[in-house]
Amino acid sequence: MSSDVVFFYIYGLVALAGAIGLVTAPRLVHAVMSLLATLLSVAALYLLMGSEFLAAMQLFVYGGAVTVLALFVLMLTNPEQNSAGRSGRGIVLTAGGLCVVLFGLLSTALMRGQWNIGAVRVHDTESLATILFSRYVLPFELAGLVLTIALIGAIVLAREDDMPDVVASPESQLADEAGDVA
């Protein structure tokens, strides 16, 4: 058993424990923290595969931004409503059975598959950059567009309604301010 396998089992167990904690923790803060444990160990698994750029991106995007965003939303919304109870026993049992069956099917299919591929470890940051900026340069730019549109949409959605309207003409805003002063 090489050290790779030992590290894989350590990080894999942490990831699984975090995922189970995310589903079962009664309080949402603990659920988000469990999600953080899962995301960090998935970043470590990317390192084990030899793709260190993906590990860094996982740390920045998921471990940093997504977790902090979820915690912010948790603090902005009402915590008592957020810890709304679980679904009924029937739903939990049905969903659990469904997921166990799904996992059984997936794992038997994966076990049967002949993946006779050696452990090839290449530091692939350079090839990733090459392919992102040559073959996939149009999807890359479109991804930037998608992010911009999504963030503008998020700001528009989450804005307070009684804030001054952005599209209001300067004259009417001046008139409003004059009225306020008067």
Binding site: S2, V23, L45, V92, L106, L128, I131, A150, A154, A158
Partner: protein, 103 residues
């Protein structure tokens, strides 16, 4: 015993199934969103594993992981903005009771 592709694939399948279970059973909207994040992470792990083991010279799967991260970030931003808006306008965060748009 060396670290093979199967290890990563089965771990990703387990994470995927746990995420689906969370989406199906949890009532709080925020938990549903972060369970979707977990599902997307499992898919990312699959893509990265195939990229590292099947085609390590050409990082096609790794570039798909980057695009999926972009989509996941956009999704979580929009979903959390929706949660804030719903919480402000209707004091509802249990997703079972979000039924205003039903016909």
């Amino acid at each position: 015993m060396t670290l093979g592709l199967n290890h990563f694939l089965i771990l990703a399948a387990a994470l995927f199934c746990i995420g689906i279970f969370g989406v199906l059973t949890s009532k709080s909207a925020l938990r549903v969103v972060i369970c979707v994040e977990l599902i997307l992470n499992a898919v990312n792990l699959n893509l990265a594993a195939f990229s590292a083991y099947v085609a390590p010279k050409e990082a096609v799967g790794a570039s798909f992981v980057i695009f999926l991260m972009v989509v996941a970030a956009a999704e979580v931003g929009l979903a959390l903005a929706l949660i804030i808006t719903l919480n402000r306008t209707s004091d509802i965060s249990a997703i079972d009771s979000m039924s205003r748009m039903k016909g």
